[in-house]
Amino acid sequence: MTESPAAPHAESPAEHKAEHKAGSKADSRACWPLYEVFVRPRRGLNHVHVGSLHASDDRMALLAARDLYTRRNEGVSLWVVRSDAITASTPDERDPFFEPSGDKVYRHPTFYDIPEDVPHI
């Protein structure tokens, strides 16, 4: 394997979104922002992170979370929060590798450019 780490994407997902001008030819890559989903499995328990999903607005995120993460009655309450609204620590603040993007949760979308010549990625 010959892949090498590339610089993180300069643009945030939100900036990416703003490029799509209303009325322009639809870009099939238009992608909704990422949300993190938290479910309270039962009364008396904390909300627990269960996964994520894409939605264009908060309400859509909540409905999609209901469909996706509680369609088998797994919870009594749901939280959704935009992933880019979460501030998280790095496991190791000394690690220079993560410093440039240190406050982006889970380093979600588009932080890696994989060179085109790397097979099967």
Binding site: W32, P41, L45, S56, D57, M60, A64, D67, R72
Partner: protein, 316 residues
Amino acid sequence: MHDHTTPATSTTTQAATSTATSGTEDDHVYLSLAEAAPGPEGEGRWAYGTGFADPLLGVDTALPAGLDGADLAAYCLMLGDDALILAQRLIEWCTRAPELEEEVALANLGLDLLGQARLLLTRAGQADGTGRSEDDLAYWREEHEFRNVRLVETPNGDFAYSIARLLLFATTRGVLYEALSAHPDPVLAAVAARGVKELAYHREYATAWTLRLGDGTPYSAERMQAGLDAVWPLLEELFTAHPVERRVGVDPAELREPVLRALGAVVAEAGLTVPDVPPLATVLGRAGRDGVHTEALGPLLAELQVVARAHPGATW
């Protein structure tokens, strides 16, 4: 405790703490996965819509005195066929939705409607005394015996058309189910009572998308308006009473005012125009409730029924 009521957290913890690397560990996981979960709490319950409890649990299925069985059966067929045919159309979206989250959502709507259809068709077979099953009624009736309104049978069109259709249907059916949850037939009342909750979600889904498309890009607003324009002529039929509806159900004319008011509010908020179009004509005064449909229903039923009809008497 039942397997699937276990909170996701505890299973995650189990997996995270099970650190053995042997094959036996995986075998154990596999076996626990493969344990059957029979009964109403078993896996099959997911196939009945998003309501988890059996809506007919403890409901007396005997026909109440004073209700005409043939009328009740015809009425259940009307409502059941509406749900079945729209479910079939929603199912056609599967693998074609604009985003994966919408695949899941559209399937949920389809499952809810399919669940309602099954209960209503079953009730029809009980009420008319023939004992016909949901499948007898879904797979072995001819086109002219289907009593659904024409709104639910037209082809899906684009996403905006499907959303417009859903908006009209869910808004109307939600109001109807609310009234029917006090119906003298306890089965119909129970189906309607659960349906109210399901339809509230369908209505919110359709409303939210109408707003997004109407207030999105110029192109999406154009599509959404076109969708509303195309389905609106089919709306009048939802307010037009068949004699059976007057005798045994809710007179759909009563739905007109609250439904039009609700739809008008959504359309206005979406920045669109309530279509000013005449209703689709009937054929000698007859339409879907009389078994007189559009040309779209025949091919839909041919597809729906083809396997079942190729194997008469077979069990699936």
